[in-house]
């Protein structure tokens, strides 16, 4: 996320218990994560809105847990923010199962951009997270309102392309294939299979079936001569939790409050912020794994959760999948160039790398760092 954007974690709670959710692997117990009862109160929301106004925040992304779990809180927060900060853009990362008529109308009226977690056809989606039928009746309206991107977890690599195609056929034009970062999730058989599935999906995009946002983002990344750390935590990420504490990214609250660098009442402590980001950058992105996988920015939070520090090793399977993704994108470099010129508007081309570069760092649905 850029400096003028901020995540707002209304609650750590979620109504679902997805198989690959990183928050279950965190330092908090599963029970606490999914039903802590912690939620932002009105005072925190008001202060957060004032903080956004004062600090020139132009975009707020609701995040959780599941941000729609406490519906009244969500609506109060969203309306307060819109009233307080003129021109503010809102986004939400949601599993979609708690959308109702009122929420949907709010999305439509206020042009809220939605990042919907959808893992493919009913069978695959329900295997991974469940609740397909609770969201399917909103598909048409989410498509019609526009500004809805589907985040699909790679998780099971078998048949991946067919599930991407299914989402495109529903009418969602943009799919982000998010490689989940869990240690031990992928097996070696997944590597080659992923490459061929991704290759097929990319060919389908080039044939005009839909847009693979992650490929376009990767394509932009590969224009540089050196890979830059894409993790917002080292430079620009900003998140506010339900208590009004400020963190360098939306996942840092999972580590507890030791990595805060301010709060919505007193603002950001520049010194603490600098030290915090520099520490994570130095330990994680100058580590042996960082040299071994120069095309990857692995999530420091995941490393910390596993090792108790930021300098531990990165999941080799995850890193290899990202390498393969880059390989396929490089393979179709000229074709993607042509695709971008003919299919994307000037603004889309410009922003292709802005909102999605960082999705691979975690499981969306409950995790995205749209840098």
């Amino acid at each position: 996320m850029s400096m003028n954007a901020c995540y707002f974690l209304l609650t750590p709670d979620c109504n679902m218990s997805c198989r690959y959710c990183f928050q279950r692997n965190g330092v908090r117990s599963a029970k606490k994560v999914h039903a802590s009862g912690a939620v932002a109160n009105k005072q925190t929301i008001d202060r957060f809105a004032a903080f956004c106004k004062k600090n020139g925040i132009e975009r707020v992304e609701f995040f959780g847990g599941e941000p729609l779990l406490y519906k009244d809180t969500f609506l109060y927060a969203a309306r307060t923010l819109l009233d307080t900060v003129p021109g503010l853009k809102l986004g939400i990362v949601t599993n979609g199962t708690l959308i109702d008529e009122e929420i949907m109308r709010f999305f439509e009226q206020e042009n809220v951009s939605v990042l919907l977690s959808l893992d493919g056809k009913r069978s695959r989606h329900n295997l991974m997270r469940g609740g397909f039928d609770r969201i399917s009746h909103w598909f048409d309206r989410l498509v019609a309102k526009g500004q809805t991107t589907v985040a699909m977890q790679v998780s099971v690599t078998k048949g991946l392309f067919q599930h991407v195609r299914f989402i495109w056929k529903l009418g969602f034009p943009s799919v982000y294939l998010n490689v989940i970062q869990n240690y031990g999730w992928y097996q070696s058989v997944d590597i080659d299979r992923f490459e061929s599935e991704y290759d097929a999906a990319l060919q389908a995009m080039l044939a005009g079936e839909g847009k693979l946002v992650c490929a376009i983002a990767m394509h932009r990344t590969l224009e540089a001569s050196q890979y830059e750390v894409k993790c917002g935590i080292t430079q620009t990420g900003l998140a506010c939790d339900w208590q009004g504490l400020l963190y360098p990214c939306h996942r840092t609250p999972e580590l507890g409050t030791s990595f805060t660098f301010g709060d919505v009442r007193n603002g950001v402590s520049k010194r603490k912020e600098r030290l915090c980001r520099a520490r994570i950058n130095r330990q994680c992105f100058k580590s042996a794994s960082a040299s071994e996988y120069p095309l990857v920015s692995f999530c420091p939070i995941t490393v910390y959760q596993r090792n108790g520090n930021f300098s531990g090793s990165w999941s080799p399977m995850f890193c290899e999948l990202i390498n393969r993704k880059a390989k396929v994108v490089a393979k179709y470099h000229y074709e993607i160039n042509k695709y971008c010129l003919t299919n994307l508007s000037a603004v889309e081309n410009e922003n292709a790398n802005v909102d999605t570069t960082h999705l691979d760092h975690g499981v969306i649905g409950n995790c995205t760092d749209r840098q």
């Binding site: 590969l222 540089a224 001569s225 130095r282 095309l295 880059a326 390989k327 490089a330 393979k331």
Partner: protein, 128 residues
């Protein structure tokens, strides 16, 4: 029948080390997609020629921009210029300009390595 030997030996010419280094430096500046296409053997012959040209022009451009550069320690009363100085904003620059008149390598390297954008430890002199 065996041909009579002419007495000439075949000499395999090696590329001079400086030239090789120049090519390597040029390749390092190619876009990642080009490097990947080369690494995975996806680049065609025509492309490889193009990449060679691209690498050459990149390095020529950067040489022009920085003036005539020499690989060695600093000359007396000059400031050294590290390759990474282009992207480093702190550390390297500050320590170079204040104290680097004798041996730029030791002064710069320590402060520069590990800085964002640092590309290594090639000390270069004379651009100023």
């Amino acid at each position: 029948m065996k041909k009579a030997s002419t007495g000439k030996k075949t000499v395999i010419k090696k590329k001079p080390a400086v030239k090789q280094e120049r090519i390597t430096k040029g390749y390092a500046k190619l876009p990642l997609w080009a490097k990947l296409r080369i690494a995975y053997g996806m680049a065609t012959k025509t492309e490889l020629t193009e990449f060679n040209k691209m690498a050459n022009s990149i390095i020529t451009r950067s040489e022009k921009k920085m003036g005539k550069l020499k690989l060695s320690g600093c000359a007396p009363d000059t400031h050294c210029l590290f390759t990474c100085l282009q992207s480093c904003t702190e550390g390297c620059k500050s320590s170079c300009t204040s104290s680097c008149t004798k041996n730029c390598t030791s002064n710069c390297e320590d402060s520069c390595l590990g800085m964002p954008g640092c590309m290594g430890s090639v000390g270069i002199v004379g651009a100023q």
